[in-house]
């Protein structure tokens, strides 16, 4: 059967349900959110239709600037850490036997699907005073007494890297599996050490893939909303946490919506950049 353009209305039949669902429950909610971001907040958690820019005006405060700056910095740091670990790891994984690959993929998928609540709980346990890793250090004689390592920036950073690393590997995996193995073989034959071959052949060949992956991981990290809350101090709260906080606990929907719209714009422009970078690779 050749693929053909739909001719009769009935040919569009299969599209009705999916299109309807996606429009009603994604496009319309999205539009509602944008509309609410211009609404006026009433006392008591309600809001009424209006067209005010106050909610966006609040972006200009020092507090918001700090949160935004910290969110971007944190996401960037997480993306850098994940790519630095993920690229060599995925490269080595892609040359491992199929059995080893499948084992790792199952493990990575299991951790990736683990609820953010559970990851936060697991890390707060590992970094706690009573059950944490410091007990091991005390046993080894490295520390005098166990202590709690949360809340701290290090805890947030480590847990977010933990959460995003499986994602990084799975994004990199298809590109690295398809990487021509003769490239490194040639470099090795010409006398390059494995490390040198990796940095002078593999990394340049994957430059655009690595850049696109960094952006994807950056967006992924930008979406983390529970880990900064569970493992960090209030000054380590990110934009995602602030949105949740405003929407649920402060009952200020218009402001939450305005921040969400802003987050969408940041993410979308980054997705666009990632796609553009990805195209470049095909063209090259």
């Amino acid at each position: 059967m050749r693929r053909e353009a739909p001719q009769r209305l009935a040919d569009y039949g299969p599209l009705f349900f999916p299109a309807g669902m996606l429009i009603v429950f994604f496009v319309i909610p999205f539009a509602t959110m944008i509309a609410v971001s211009f609404f006026e907040r009433q006392q008591g958690g309600f809001y009424e239709p209006a067209f005010v820019l106050d909610n966006y005006g609040r972006f200009l405060s020092l507090f918001f600037g700090k949160v935004l700056g910290f969110s971007l910095f944190l996401a960037m740091a997480v993306a850098a850490a994940c790519v630095a670990i993920g690229v060599p790891f995925t490269y080595l994984l892609s040359s491992a036997s199929r059995r080893v690959q499948v084992w790792w993929l199952v493990a990575l998928l299991s951790i990736l699907s683990l609820s953010e609540v559970m990851i936060g709980f697991a890390w707060s346990t590992l970094l706690s005073r009573t059950a944490g890793i410091t007990n091991l250090f005390v046993m080894l004689g490295l520390m005098d007494g166990p202590q709690a390592l949360t809340p701290s920036f290090g805890a947030v950073m480590t847990a977010m890297t933990y959460q995003a690393l499986p994602y990084t590997v799975l994004v990199l995996y298809p590109a690295l599996v398809r990487l021509d193995p003769t490239l490194t073989e040639a470099a090795r034959t010409l006398g390059a050490s494995p490390l040198k071959a990796f940095f002078s052949v593999v990394v340049p060949a994957l430059r655009n893939t690595i850049l696109a992956t960094s952006i994807m991981v950056f967006i992924f990290a930008l979406g983390s909303y529970l880990l900064p809350q569970l493992l960090g101090r209030p000054q380590q709260w990110t934009l995602s946490v602030l949105i949740t906080d405003q929407a649920i606990y402060q009952s200020n929907m218009p402001f939450a919506a305005a921040m969400a719209v802003f987050l969408v714009l940041v993410s979308l422009s980054l997705v666009g950049l990632a796609l553009y970078v990805g195209r470049q690779r095909e063209a090259a």
Partner: protein, 264 residues
């Protein structure tokens, strides 16, 4: 080099496993303490998930939500993926983009969008709104696996069936359906596991009327720790590992994840 490579893999493995090992240890404590290494040994905290009323109803809520929302996601993805494969309609790709968007953007955006939508339409807090929310949020997964499944179908098979007089419906039932069934199963499984673990969309849409397990853990965290949180975490990890292990056992996991070469 091999030794170095082993060491690197070991280090990554340890980093990934360490928090989970501690959680598994904590989950078998005999008393309600958060101690590691565990004091005594007891599996009663695993029993708690099923015997304690609050935890059991959260478990049931999570399972029902995951099962129904994954089914709905599949119902949305299947006709869409089939249409995109069967017809030449470039503008219809917009729906593919809409299907992938919620998953690509930070989750809090989809959550807040649905919250404002349900609040405006007056259905806020109804349990079924979470089913629709998760179906939309995770429709990406069956959509991606099904698109892969359709692209793997040899079109000449379909052509042969058409030549012999089968109509679209018959072709779908007898040729296409058996070929894409494995992709439907894996798409459903991915959506199921992720819905089970999802927090923010469920919390923002039905957080005050229904408790799923992740919501229950988060609420319980505010009042301090109980080892049941640890046992639930291990339990959920086991479910995920079993599901993905089964996909790997009966399907081609590297191919599903985008690796097209399987001649290693």
């Amino acid at each position: 080099m091999t030794a170095l490579k082993r060491l690197f893999f070991l280090a990554i493995g340890l980093f990934l496993a360490l928090p989970l090992i501690v959680v598994a240890g904590v989950s078998v404590n005999e008393k309600q303490t958060l101690a590691f290494p565990p004091q005594g040994f007891s599996l009663s905290w695993y029993g708690e998930i099923f015997t304690n009323n609050e935890w059991r109803s959260a478990l049931v809520a999570s399972l029902v939500l995951a099962a129904t929302s994954a089914a709905l996601a599949l119902l949305i993805a299947l006709p869409l993926a089939w249409f995109l494969w069967r017809r030449v309609a470039p503008w219809a790709n917009i729906f593919q983009v809409l299907g992938v968007a919620p998953f690509t953007l930070p989750p809090v955006i989809t959550a807040l969008g649905l919250l404002t939508f349900w609040a405006t339409s007056g259905f806020y807090g109804q349990p079924w709104t979470a089913v629709i929310g998760h179906a939309i949020f995770f429709v990406t997964l069956p959509l991606v696996t099904l698109s892969l499944g359709f692209s793997a179908i040899d079109r000449s098979l379909v052509e042969a069936a058409a030549t012999m007089g089968a109509d679209d419906r018959t072709i779908f039932r007898t040729v296409i359906f058996p070929l894409i069934l494995p992709y439907m199963v894996s798409g459903y499984a991915f959506a199921f596991v992720l819905s089970l673990n999802e927090y923010i969309v469920a919390y923002m849409t039905v957080g005050f009327t229904m408790e799923t397990l992740p919501i229950k853990i988060f609420n319980a965290l505010r009042y301090g720790y109980t080892p049941t949180m640890a046992s639930v975490t291990v339990f959920f990890l086991a479910i995920a590992a079993l599901v993905f292990g089964a996909i790997a056992r009966f399907g081609d996991l590297p191919k599903l994840l985008g690796a097209m070469t399987n001649d290693r």
